[in-house]
């Protein structure tokens, strides 16, 4: 059996006396769509920050595609193939929609400031390729009509989509989505579920989804892991998670056993 794409092995991080993530074992396989859920403050975003190099684990290892990522810079991990979105959208507000995508096209790392000044043949070829790729991406996600608008002027739902498109421009193997449904109405959530499925199929990648909305998580994830107080308390398919006692307790306390499935 091939090694999983992403593997957390006893990943732990402590901030002073607080253990935010405690010895979490967790994997994401090729082409898998995994959910990571848990009550507020369970450490989900912290896990994301560990995977993307924002924080360094105090203990344990994280391996991506066979490479241990400890000590790498955030941008180096992106080069390996992990891209992420943020809970509170982080677009480049003053750049146009188009430039938000272009700046993320990782072809450009072939060019340098010197080449940008000389503007030789390879530079122009790179620029043209980047422009083409960015336009294709905008077309796929129906964002072309906003091409030259400043990204901060987009409607909220489109900003979320643009953030995902920007991630795809880096050609990731694994896409981390941090609460993409936050602030969305039910119709938008349905669209989001469709979008996530489309992205996974069309771009052949694995997706790890942190989400509060059970509708979204249960709708798209093949497998779900549950965190509570930095510890993984359950893992399984949506049906198993919905009926898991520990999970229900963590979310609702002991008296509301049925509420989760009705959410």
């Amino acid at each position: 059996m091939a090694a999983p794409l992403l593997q957390l092995d006893k990943a732990t991080i402590r901030f002073g006396g607080l253990t935010a993530v405690n010895s979490v074992d967790f994997t994401v396989g090729e082409d898998e769509l995994v959910g990571l859920i848990g009550p507020n403050g369970a450490g989900k975003t912290t896990v994301f920050n560990l995977m993307t190099g924002v924080y360094q684990p105090t203990d344990g290892t994280i391996t991506f595609n066979g490479t241990p990522i400890a000590g790498l810079r955030v941008n180096e991990i992106v080069d390996l193939g992990i891209a992420r979105t943020f809970q509170n959208i982080r677009l480049f507000g003053s750049l146009s929609v188009f430039d938000n995508v272009r700046v993320a096209c990782n072809l450009h790392r072939a060019t340098s400031p010197i080449q940008a000044l000389i503007r030789g043949k390879s530079f122009r070829a790179d620029e043209a390729a980047i422009t083409k790729r960015a336009e294709e991406l905008l077309d796929i996600f129906n964002l072309r009509r906003f091409r030259d608008a400043p990204s901060k002027s987009l409607p909220y739902g489109e900003q979320r989509r643009l953030e995902i498109v920007r991630c795809l421009a880096t050609k990731p193997k694994l896409l981390l989505l941090d609460e993409p449904a936050a602030g969305m109405n039910p119709t938008e959530k349905i669209e989001l579920v469709r979008l996530i499925q489309q992205v996974q199929k069309q771009f052949n990648l694995s997706i790890l989804l942190v989400e509060h909305s059970m509708k979204v998580v249960m709708g798209v994830c093949q497998r779900i892991a549950v965190l509570d107080y930095g510890v993984k308390i359950a893992e399984g398919n949506p049906a198993q998670i919905q009926s898991d006692k520990k999970v229900i307790e963590a979310y609702l306390g002991e008296d509301h056993q049925t509420a989760l499935s009705h959410h």
Partner: protein
């Protein structure tokens, strides 16, 4: 005993007795440091409530000296009551000035980009300096002897009454400030605004009044610093605030900006270090020392000696 009014750094010191020379420098350093501390408190308080560097603070310090200069002409020289009266007048005048600056310039910029506020502060600073040059004249003036001054000699150690005055007045003011901040209602409000301005407003604190008060308080302390500085370095001019201001700011950062005891500690440390450097063969580098300390502290302990460092949340 001799009566003379000399600058701190030109105090006679003999090289024969290293220990007494050390004590002499330490004393000189502490009295210079006490002045830096008084100015630093204003920077640190304003940074605490508004999170910006009030560049104009150093010029409020200068205005304090000039108010003292003019007020000093109307009181008998070399009397304690006269000197204290001048001190109080300068403090009140500068408190008003500080509040006026806040009301007219900074209040409208609350919540704007750091850079814009900083440039406005620099604008106010330049305005005060150049207005000073027009109205007070650019040539240095001699500050009157408003306090009685004597020198006490213990062997080769010379202590001037002015140095003692500086340390005593500065200490009293800092104790008073500590009482205001921790024992009064307005002080509690100041601390609340500094921790979370929005939450403070929600529980009924009037932020405008608190910020205005903070400026008044900080400016009054700067004025006191200005008078004490002028007593020891009696030549005053409209640009006199620039260097002490920058150094006091370094002191505030050194102690941990936004932290009141930190500013006092930073001021004393900086004054002492600078005086020792000034007495050594590296004296021509004394202005660089403050900045070297600033850079060092920002790179290795950005929160300062007594501050807490916070990281941006992702």
């Amino acid at each position: 005993m001799t009566t003379q009014s000399e600058s701190l750094n030109s105090q006679p010191s003999t090289l024969n007795f290293p220990l007494s020379e050390f004590l002499q420098q330490l004393l000189n350093g502490l009295s210079l440091g006490a002045i830096y501390a008084l100015i630093a408190l204003g920077y640190t308080m304003v940074y605490g409530v508004l999170r910006f560097i009030n560049f104009a603070h150093s010029d409020v310090f200068m205005v304090g000296s000039f108010i003292g200069y003019y007020a000093g002409k109307h009181v008998p020289e070399r009397t304690y009551w006269g000197g204290l009266l001048v001190l109080v007048v300068a403090m009140l005048g500068c408190a008003l000035l500080g509040m006026l600056i806040e009301r007219l310039c900074y209040r409208r910029l609350r919540g704007s980009a750091t850079l814009n506020v900083l440039i406005t502060a620099i604008g106010v600073s330049l305005l005060l300096e150049y207005s000073g040059q027009v109205f007070f004249g650019a040539t240095p003036r001699t500050f009157p002897d408003i306090f009685p001054s004597t020198n006490f000699a213990f062997g080769s150690l010379v202590i001037s009454s002015n140095q003692i005055l500086v340390i005593v007045v500065a200490t009293l003011l800092m104790v008073a400030l500590q009482l205001i901040v921790y024992r009064t209602k307005i002080g509690t409000a100041m601390r609340a605004v500094s921790l979370n301005p929005k939450a403070a407003q929600l529980v009924g604190v009037n932020n405008d009044i608190v910020i205005s008060f903070t400026f008044g308080l900080g400016s009054a302390l700067a004025a006191a610093g200005g008078i004490l500085y002028a007593i020891n370095y009696p030549s005053i001019d409209p640009l006199m605030g620039v260097m002490p201001g920058l150094k006091a700011f370094v002191a505030a950062v050194l102690g941990g900006i936004g932290n009141i005891p930190g500013a006092a500690l930073g001021g004393l440390l900086l004054g002492t270090v600078e005086t020792f450097v000034n007495g050594s063969q590296w004296s021509t580098y004394k202005d660089a020392i403050a900045f070297a300390i600033l850079i060092g502290i920002l790179l290795f302990r950005p929160a300062g000696l007594l501050g807490k460092f916070t990281v941006e949340k992702v």
